[in-house]
């Protein structure tokens, strides 16, 4: 299917339907791009748009949506629960198929320069596209939010990576970057003891010495009277699904508990399922092009 990138821009508007429709419309009308989802939250006053497309088409869609947001959103009047620094708050690119993270970083840099050059909005690069370790994490880049950054941006250590060291008068600033696809993954246990789920979660999460690309919590699913390990797989190429599944299965056995099932919440890239089949069936030299549908 050729090079394909996902883009998930977040906009600081979750209440005015006509503004949301105008921004999403900019994405939809670019050829070579498929709009997958528009998710608006009124209390956050924020909209998350998900689309996929050929890299240059995706970049154009992101730029046009960002320009529309700058035109229709005034950060001086924006209030909401979610942290933000601009009308277009953050734009991550995510590799989907036949594209490397390095290419997504390059694409993010091109977009950052265009947003700065054409729209006069200061741009910070984050995650895989960060220029310094201090800008890898989004909360660090967003420190002080829109209101605080208006003065903080003048300090050399807060200067943007592209564009003026001065907030856009209505659109603020924007964060652009590249990251891996996030898979929301739950593993269900044959116990109603949430403490077992919590203990297992602590063994697999990075913060406690577990897998580098794994965030995990133990929770109780009340309506099934069942404990669950709920997981964010933040880089399935580094920490694959099967490794987390097998580790949870093994840790659960230590308590005499079985894994009764697992759930993918939302989307999963095809490659993560191919990697799973590859591991369990011990494939030798399997090529993604052998998937019939990949040739269409």
């Amino acid at each position: 299917m050729g090079k394909l990138v996902e883009c998930v821009p977040n906009f600081s508007e979750g209440r005015r339907p006509e503004v949301i429709a105008a921004i999403a419309g900019e994405v939809e009308k670019v050829e070579g791009v498929t709009l997958l989802n528009v998710n608006s939250d009124a209390s956050h006053n924020r909209t998350v748009v998900t689309f996929v497309g050929e890299p240059q088409a995706a970049k154009l869609a992101a730029l046009n949506a960002c320009a529309k947001a700058a035109e229709l959103i005034n950060m001086e009047q924006h209030h909401g629960e979610h942290p933000r620094i601009g009308a277009t708050d953050v734009i991550p690119f995510i590799p989907v198929s036949e594209i490397t993270m390095e290419e997504c970083v390059q694409l993010a840099n091109e977009l950052g320069q265009e947003i700065a050059g054409k729209l006069n909005i200061p741009v910070y690069m984050y995650e895989a596209a960060a220029k310094t370790p201090a800008r890898v994490k989004l909360p660090d880049v967003r420190k002080g939010e829109y209101e605080g950054l208006k003065t903080a941006i003048a300090a050399p250590e807060r200067h943007p990576d592209y564009g003026p060291a001065k907030m856009h008068p209505t659109a603020g600033a924007t964060v652009v970057g590249a990251r891996q696809f996030l898979i929301a993954y739950n593993i269900n246990l044959s116990t109603s003891d949430v403490n077992i789920a919590k203990k297992i979660a602590s063994t697999i999460r990075e913060a406690k010495g577990g897998f580098k690309y794994c965030r995990a919590m133990g929770v109780m699913i009340e309506d099934r009277n069942m404990a669950q390990v709920t997981i964010n797989m933040v880089d399935y190429t580094g920490t694959p699904l099967h490794r987390v599944f097998e580790t949870v299965k093994s840790e659960a056995a230590r308590y005499g508990v079985n894994v009764i099932g697992s759930e993918i919440v939302g989307m999963v890239p095809l490659q993560a399922l191919i990697d799973t089949a590859d591991f369990y069936l011990r494939f030798e030299g399997f090529d993604r092009k052998q998937v019939l549908e990949e040739n269409i």
Copy 2:
């Protein structure tokens, strides 16, 4: 991606490139169809064309290719090692996505009627589209080949399902039907004793009390000094990959032998890999639409 069917017509010409190109060209020029492969064998004097497409487009491509073969191939002058009864020898439809076997049977019947009505070629329906048990297997339908069928066709039990009970003077007769996708699958063993592979193969194949949709043999891979179970999975929806893999692993262990790997030879439908991940990760309620690429 919508309803998708694969079609793998076999033509009785494997030597004249211009004839092969003309037949494949008829497929290629139909909108909504993707030509995947053209495989010609000179000693068989036969060409296998593989394409996928939307059902009605695939049917049109098959009809046009069949008409072109009837125009350019004269069975009176055809010689080759492979059994055959007509210029277009056999046309199977194979469900790929969002289409049932019943719909493929219906499509095959429509094509059979069109070939009979428009080209005046007698048509036999086989496999899932067979009208009687005696016509399920291709060798049974092809009995006597082109030369023998010229007289045999007059007997009521050999009358075609559609069209005249008389061979087309140059194009002969054609077999049309529907079957499942065939996955060629090898499982490699940590032994150089081919007898172990042969014993394992006999436990999984239908003929010896094994899996209904499994053909298997034990062979020696000389250049790796390794025994292999080589398998044709003739219906992965009835006998899935994981079940065959796990059974071979378990039977091999009985001889102190391990499975060191497995290979998919050629194409595999995406669904077979999803089914594999679903089994091993014990998915609850996974929907194919959750595969990101399926939404594009």
